[in-house]
């Protein structure tokens, strides 16, 4: 039988290349809550908590995963990458650069998750077609209707990455 109030347990993993150990009361605590509330990484957004909208997308060992219902115990020993880990204003990822150039945002709430999904796509497919990008992003919802700008931005980033790799 499970205790009503579990003793805090410690889980070790890496976030954006940095080793972290967090003590949480329940092994079922969502990774999203750990990122936002324990580690102060607010870039990964809460959208639904039901694994349906993609706002909370992160990379776990390089694979895109929704963090809102991902229990913390299952992340132990793994490498988590969040939006904060893919680029910064001083050293933007080509995707972030392209999203700004294409002004690919309205409210912008969905963008963290979309950028993460797009990165996972470009990591495995260097020259996706428009429909391949759209398919990859189908798990991410955008309500403002910025889809076409986002598709253009991802395609543009793919070109930049290919050019960079070819040099």
């Amino acid at each position: 039988m499970r205790c009503e109030q579990a003793m805090p347990s410690r889980y070790d993993f890496t976030v954006n290349g940095r080793a972290v150990g967090v003590a949480v009361e329940g092994e079922e605590t969502p990774l999203l809550n750990v990122l936002r509330n324990a580690l102060g990484l607010m870039g990964t957004r809460f959208g639904c908590g039901l694994e349906q909208c993609g706002c909370c997308m992160v990379l776990i060992d390089g694979e895109p995963a929704k963090s809102c219902a991902r229990q913390i115990w299952s992340v132990a020993g793994k490498a988590v990458t969040t939006i904060e880990g893919i680029g910064t204003p001083d050293a933007p990822h080509p995707l972030q650069q392209a999203f700004i150039e294409e002004q690919a945002g309205q409210c912008g709430y969905c963008l963290s998750g979309i950028l993460i999904t797009a990165k996972a796509l470009l990591d495995r497919n260097a020259s996706p077609s428009r429909s391949e990008i759209a398919q990859a992003l189908d798990d991410n919802l955008c309500r403002c209707g910025t889809h076409n700008r986002i598709l253009r931005a991802v395609a543009k980033a793919a070109v930049r990455l290919r050019e960079g790799a070819g040099r």
Partner: protein, 706 residues
């Protein structure tokens, strides 16, 4: 230069120092009562201020939506921010510039007409004078009222307004920085969730606190005031777990059951209503002997379905309540919260922070009221309320279902000479200010049920918005049936009645064109004398390569839709090409718009395109589901929206403007896009579907009936 009359927002907030300040060398502080709701308004406001003051955009910092700091400009809604708020800011800045030039002229002993401002520096006949806004700031008092005497910079001299400007708020969102109210943390903050009263009048019979505590698996406490019940704790995970479990451990009495029949718009036709007629009286029955056509269109309740559920923070310290919200109107919300808690409005500060796009009156105000109630129960503890996804879908105000019956008497050429639109709808406006906060209904002594009302025609109307066609029809009227009791709380969604009304009008015109054996584009132009309206229709037809006489019923369809939003904001015409098998596949969309003076063209195009895509989602997919327990579409699977792979390519052209009045764009395309899709589906099927959404079930039924 032209001497302007004073815009309304400046009449209401005349003091210039409410709008503009020079806080430090090289810096300009601008305040606006309008708020960023994802539409890029603060970027556009910065452009307006920079242009009129004559400073670089980078020098400007904007404060927005703060009852302690910014002008009261009511709500950020109705595509009015630039058309009204932007114009007010422009006038304020023009007057500030004039005051500084006057002071510089006095100091220099010259005529102010010889002076000009360049990036904040004051120049005389093109040479620097050594004076600037900041050096003169001590000598020029802005603690004075705007006068309407200042001359506006002529738009022909513009170098900032009318050019693309990058969104100031976008980098923070692309780099995952704290950008939203959801990301705000206060020292000692507690998380809270409300166990929602199922409906007005329901009473809390019992709460099994022990069972809820077990489900929390962490430390929580309860806040209970009347029928208002909240769970509060330091650990969000525990509070969430408790909130998920709570409905199973709480007993309510007096819950009014709902019926699945209420999810259909046709339910409205059987309800009592408050009726009125706008326009010319009904023609005598003898006039009906001529040819007549009539058709009835409808749409279901829609959710705002913001991508993030609503969130708010509140803190009650030393008798002063501070509330952080993503609501559209901080001043009206302050009034409503003060009323609810019986506080002096001066003891309440309301501050806007960005949320996800809201597209109207979603749960933002209610979440703020929740946080305010809890904070006053726990003085000194900052309270963060974040609604659950299911809570947002179930309890946010919905866009009302609507039925629009259009009837017309036709002349020999088949053109309408007498037009009646009969509209059934719940209210489109239940914003706070008149007792419309959910939490208030659960507190002891709840406010009376608000008197049902709809925005007045002077404000663009609610259910009647765009119900009056812009076409040259000699006699027109609207019969408005306001249905006071609806199965869900209803309020404003992007464009209010405009989408269903334009859908009805423009589909009806296609039906008339078909009866007359005419091309839909030509049929429209033949009865539309407004030159700006004609221009967007002609342009979109050219963009789309519109050719008359394409056969109907082939599975591929083309359709057009047009409207001038509110008959006084931006003009937009949309052509859609699509395929229909069992469902609709959008292929390509073209749009031509005339938005008058456009501040940020790229931002305007972004808004026009967003309106098209959101409208496509409404029209093809969306309907709030209701069962006996209330709203049953509680997640993204039961309330699906358009996804990336379903979005068509869209070409948009902004036509060059005449004159210098900005016309609101944010809501201009939803109606035309909906109508264009409706007409294209009809063209593809060779049969008309008049009820939204255009689901697989409706398409199959139409195909089977053929």
């Amino acid at each position: 230069m032209t001497a302007p009359a004073l815009p309304g927002a400046l009449v209401n907030n005349p003091r210039l120092d409410r709008w503009v300040a020079f806080p430090a060398p090289g810096k300009v502080a601008i305040a606006t009562g309008k708020v960023e709701i994802g539409q890029g308004v603060l970027t556009a406001m910065a452009q307006v201020a920079a242009e009129e003051l004559g400073v670089a955009v980078e020098r400007i910092a904007i404060a927005s939506g703060d009852t302690d700091l910014t002008p009261n400009e009511g709500f950020t809604s109705g595509s009015q921010s630039m058309q009204f708020g932007g114009v007010a800011l422009r006038h304020a800045c023009a007057e500030v510039r004039a005051l500084f030039l006057r002071e510089a002229a006095r100091v220099l002993g010259c005529d102010a007409a010889t002076l000009a401002v360049r990036d904040g520096g004051i120049f005389r006949n093109g040479a620097p004078t050594g004076h600037d806004y900041w050096s003169l700031a001590g000598a020029v008092s802005l603690a004075q009222d705007a006068t309407a005497d200042a001359l506006l910079k002529p738009t022909s001299n513009y170098t900032i307004v009318g050019r693309n400007s990058v969104r100031l708020d976008l980098p923070a969102k692309v780099f995952g920085q704290p950008a939203f109210i959801h990301d705000m943390v206060r020292d000692g903050m507690a998380h809270a969730r409300v166990v929602r009263q199922p409906g007005r009048g329901a009473t809390l019979e019992s709460v099994d606190e022990a069972a809820i505590r077990r489900a929390a698996k962490g430390s929580i406490e309860f806040v209970k005031v009347g029928n208002f019940l909240a769970i509060v704790g330091r650990e969000e995970t525990a509070v969430d777990a408790a909130a998920v479990a709570a409905p199973n451990h709480v007993v309510w009495r007096g819950v009014e059951p709902r019926s699945p029949l209420q999810q259909e718009a046709s339910w409205l036709l059987q309800q009592p209503s408050i009726d009125r007629t706008i326009g010319v009286p009904e023609p005598p029955a003898s006039g009906r002997g001529r040819r007549r056509h009539e058709a009835t269109y409808s749409k279901a309740h829609l959710a705002h379905a913001s991508i993030a559920p609503s969130c708010a923070l509140a803190e009650f310290c030393d008798g002063h309540l501070t509330v952080w919200t993503h609501a559209q109107g901080v001043y009206p919300l302050r009034t409503a919260i003060a009323q609810m808690l019986r506080l002096d409005p001066a003891a309440v500060s309301v501050r806007h922070l960005q949320g996800a796009g809201c597209y109207g009156h979603n749960g933002a105000d209610d979440a703020a009221a929740d946080a305010a109630v809890i904070a006053t129960q726990l003085p000194g503890t900052p309270i963060r309320v974040r609604w659950r996804r299911e809570e947002e879908f179930a309890f946010e105000p919905m866009a009302p279902a609507m039925v629009v019956k259009v009837g017309a008497v036709l002349d020999e050429a088949g053109r309408p000479v007498d037009w009646t639109a009969e509209i059934w709808s719940g209210t489109h406006s239940a914003r706070p200010g008149s007792g419309n906060l959910l939490a208030a209904e659960a507190l002891p002594d709840p406010p009376p049920v608000p008197q049902p009302s709809d925005p007045p025609e002077a404000g663009g109307g609610g259910a009647t918005r765009n119900g009056d066609p812009l076409y040259d029809i000699p006699a027109k009227r609207i019969v408005h049936h306001l249905v006071p009791e609806t199965p869900v709380r209803t309020s404003a969604l992007r464009g209010l009645g405009a989408m269903p009304n334009v859908f009805a009008i423009e589909c009806f015109l296609d039906e008339l064109a078909q009866r007359a054996g005419q091309d839909p584009v030509q049929f429209r132009l033949a009865q539309l004398s407004d030159p700006r309206a004609r221009r967007v229709i002609e342009r979109v037809a050219a963009m789309a390569g519109w050719t008359p006489g394409l056969p109907a019923g082939t599975g591929r369809g083309r359709g057009i839709g047009f409207a001038r939003y509110k008959n006084r904001a931006a003009y937009a015409a949309v052509v859609v090409e699509l395929d229909v098998d069992e469902t609709v596949h959008l292929r390509q969309v073209w749009c031509a718009a005339d938005a008058g003076l456009v501040i940020n063209p790229d931002g305007a195009i972004n808004q026009l395109e967003g309106g098209i895509i959101q409208s496509a989602s409404w029209v093809l997919k969306e309907q709030v589901r209701i069962d006996t327990a209330g709203v049953s579409s509680l997640d993204w699977e039961t309330y699906p929206i358009l996804r990336f792979s379903e979005v068509p390519e869209i070409s948009i052209e902004l036509l060059p403007s005449h004159g210098d009045a900005p016309l609101g764009v944010g809501e201009a395309t939803a109606g035309p896009a909906a109508a264009a899709i409706g007409n294209a589906v009809s063209h593809a099927l060779g049969a008309r579907i008049r009820d939204l959404p255009l689901t697989r079930e409706r398409i199959m039924a139409t195909l089977l009936a053929q």
